[in-house]
């Protein structure tokens, strides 16, 4: 069949509309002509129909709501049909009656003609409709979720914070160290941060004894004499006794908390919101004692030095506070300062402290935090996690539930994904708006309260089991593996969002405990060696000679599970662990800070996580003497 040549033929129109064959052809021009509003009327003229039939045809085609060119095509066909009927002798009334229902006809013609439209139109049209339907379904589903979400609320059944604070309140006021520390903090004349390092090199190698920095240090200590006295007083008390909400703390809080001078969590806040304003200040107090001990040792004042060291150990014990992981880590840091000072004094001024003072210090060091392998207890981290869940999830009566708007708000406050999205987004949408809009969806994806609780507790238990023993028993953390697995898919990332956000870095915390434990064991061995030397006039051949008079047993090298290493070099004892390369390098001191850190930062023997950074060999984890940063003049910093 040849292509029709008449104006307005629909096939050309259709083909010309098709993207594959669109061109400026006859169909294009005819389509242009047919787009005129009067095109249908113009078409009907040539059929010379009675007015009644003309009107009838126009009514039908206008009711089809088709494209104008399609209407012209239908009008032509219907007009031709009626013309044929009239020519064969039928009456107008008969033809109209026989035609059928106009509305129904227009509807059916419209549907049928649309099926004749080009493929690209069909795809676009039905695709759009499918998208609309899909959108409607999603909207309906989301509305149902929204109703469920916005009508849910958490139920708090256990007041963890009150339990913690009650324990502190039960400590008799006469046993509390905190009031003295608080006074010391208020009296403390801080050292400007930028000057601090150069006054006594942050506890590393100090400047030469006649250097001008010593004068600055003396001035600083003189200015803080009252604060130091207060610290010593507080250090003699058995318990920290920091009570939240104590009005006696108002002045301290006003000075230390810039925004809101209260340490009490606001209604609805979780244990993650608990401030520890006292903890960081404890480190400042320890640094003051560190400075004082440096000056005291330089002046040959053994009693004062010993008091400073004893008080530092007490400060460390008190800093453990309630048992939050951050408190334990600060306590380890303070304890490490005390150990470093004692190690330096013992190596550089072995006669400064008396045997009694050394024995007393040894007892204090060995009994810190219960002795043995030091580990943050994680008890309050478990509480904090459960507290977050009970304040964020609904409770269906069995203890299980879904994320609530309150939980979403808390997630947002504590660094959840919506806050990040809002912060990173260039759009002006506030995180509150995003929270409201995305909340129901987040609820659907975040796992239930029990799912998150069970996984978190399982990982806590597993981490404790994997890292409760010394380094040499450790393997790659299966907890880290589990967390990596959770991060591999968006579904599990969302499902266990609370676990991913709030599970502490437990192996790192345990590693901090291992470092402190090994350093303590090295120091206790060094003290025992010094006491042996004073009594026997020589160094022992082996550490076994120290047992049991000076130490109950030879400590372990915690990296390899063998006795700690000991040699005598230049008539001085050297105590060390073989370090992470697991090789005895004869007590070789690392040359710089970076390599020193590598000697004790835990890596498994078959660690493949950092292929470009293999374990560096050749140095040991020096415990006595210890690695110290060399002193640098301020202007030779870099």
């Amino acid at each position: 069949m040849t292509e029709p040549q008449r104006d307005g033929e629909p096939r050309s129109f259709r083909l010309a509309r098709d993207a594959r064959s669109f061109r400026f052809d006859a169909g294009f021009w005819s389509r242009l002509r047919q787009s005129k509003p009067s095109a249908v009327q113009d078409t009907l003229v040539s059929f010379e129909l009675p007015d009644e039939l003309n009107t009838f045809v126009k009514t039908i085609v206008s009711s089809t709501r088709l494209w104008r060119s399609e209407q012209v095509d239908v009008a032509k066909e219907l007009a031709g049909h009626f013309r044929d009927g009239l020519d064969s002798g039928a009456s107008t009334e008969h033809l109209i009656k026989r035609f059928g229902d106009v509305t129904q006809a227009a509807k059916m013609i419209r549907q049928a003609r649309k099926r004749c439209r080009p493929l690209y139109w069909q795809v676009g049209h039905y695709g759009f409709r499918a998208a609309l339907i899909l959108f409607g379904v999603v909207l309906l589903f989301y509305s149902a979720l929204a109703i469920r979400y916005f009508t849910s609320s958490p139920t708090v059944t256990r007041l963890y914070f009150d339990e913690i604070n009650s324990a502190a309140k039960e400590i008799p006021e006469a046993d509390r160290a905190w009031p003295f520390y608080r006074e010391a903090i208020l009296l403390l004349q801080q050292i400007p941060e930028d000057e601090e390092r150069h006054w006594w090199n942050n506890g590393e190698a100090p400047p030469a004894i006649d250097a001008p920095q010593w004068h600055d240090l003396e001035t600083h200590i003189d200015a803080n004499r009252d604060a130091i006295a207060m610290i010593h007083k507080g250090a003699k008390y058995p318990h920290m006794g920091y009570v939240y909400g104590d009005p006696e703390n108002l002045k301290f809080l006003d000075q230390k908390l810039s925004v809101d001078s209260t340490d009490l969590p606001k209604p609805g806040q979780t244990m993650f919101h608990i401030l520890l304003p006292q903890t960081q200040e404890m480190r400042s107090l320890a640094r003051l004692l560190q400075a004082d001990s440096l000056l005291a040792a330089a002046r040959g004042e053994g009693e004062r030095t010993s008091n400073d060291l004893q008080s530092m150990i007490s400060l460390a014990s008190h800093a453990r506070g309630n048992g939050f992981i951050i408190e334990d880590l600060v306590a380890y840091a303070i304890f490490s300062i005390a150990m470093a000072r004692t190690t330096d004094i013992l190596y550089e001024q072995p006669d400064l402290l008396s045997s009694e003072q050394l024995v007393d210090l040894a007892h204090r060091f060995s009994s810190f935090a219960g002795g043995g392998a030091l580990r943050p207890p994680m008890r309050l981290e478990r509480w904090a996690f459960d507290d977050f869940l009970q304040r964020s999830f609904s409770d269906d009566g069995t203890g299980d539930g879904r994320l609530t708007p309150e939980g979403h708000r808390l997630l947002d406050e504590l660094g959840g994904p919506v806050r990040k999205l809002s912060d990173q987004s260039a759009t002006p949408i506030s995180s509150d708006t995003l929270t409201t809009v995305l909340g129901p969806g987040l609820m659907a994806f975040v796992g239930t309260r029990n799912e998150n609780y069970d996984l978190a507790m399982k990982l806590f238990d597993r981490s404790v089991a994997e890292s409760s023993d010394p380094y040499y028993t450790w393997k790659e953390s299966s907890v880290d593996d589990e967390l990596r697995r959770l991060n591999q898919s968006l579904m599990t990332k969302m499902r266990y969002l609370p676990v991913r956000l709030f599970l502490p870095a437990m192996q790192q915390a345990a590693a901090a405990g291992e470092r402190v434990s090994q350093t303590r064991d090295g120091l206790l061995t060094a003290i025992a060696l010094e006491l042996f030397h004073r009594r026997e006039g020589k160094w022992p051949d082996t550490l076994n000679e120290l047992v049991p008079r000076y130490i109950p047993e030879v400590p372990l090298d915690r990296v390899v599970g063998e006795p700690i290493q000991y040699i005598v070099r230049d008539d001085r004892p050297v105590v060390y662990s073989v370090g992470m390369d697991r090789q005895n390098d004869g007590g070789r001191m690392p040359p710089d800070h970076e390599q020193w850190v590598e000697t004790f930062t835990w890596r498994s023997v078959d660690d493949t996580s950092k292929p470009k950074r293999p374990i560096r060999e050749g140095y040991d984890w020096m415990l006595f003497p210890r690695y110290r940063e060399p002193y640098k003049e301020p202007n030779s910093e870099e």
């Binding site: 008449r6 129904q104 004749c116």
Partner: protein, 117 residues
């Protein structure tokens, strides 16, 4: 006798395809042929016929062509396509089966079933 709408929906397209088997026809011709050849049983108004023709066209079973009539006016002729011929054959076979089945149930007499071919 008029055929029920649902039954007509199945029979109508087969009837139209069958009429076009003998050659191309325009709308009015088809209306008249359906009316006369089926003794009015399959008579359908234009409101049914034209949408049906458009559907058959959309399915590629018939092809429409505009040509001038003797009077010089445009007229649209419908012709069976290859695909339409195959569909007609298939539909006829199905209708035969239906008629045979109805006959075996005593709904139709065997003589009338032969009329379908």
């Amino acid at each position: 006798m008029r055929v029920e709408r649902e039954l007509m929906r199945g029979a109508g397209p087969v009837a139209v395809l069958k009429l076009l088997e003998s050659g191309e026809k325009y709308g009015y011709e088809l209306v008249e042929a359906l009316d006369h050849q089926s003794a009015g049983v399959l008579a359908m108004g234009q409101s049914t016929l034209y949408p049906m023709l458009y559907n058959l066209e959309a399915q590629g079973l018939v092809k429409a062509t505009w040509r001038d009539s003797d009077a010089g006016r445009g007229r649209k002729y419908y012709a069976l396509t290859g695909k339409g011929k195959k569909r007609l054959a298939a539909d006829v076979a199905q209708w035969k089966s239906v008629v045979t089945a109805l006959a075996s149930l005593g709904v139709l007499s065997p003589q009338k079933s032969g009329a379908v071919s």
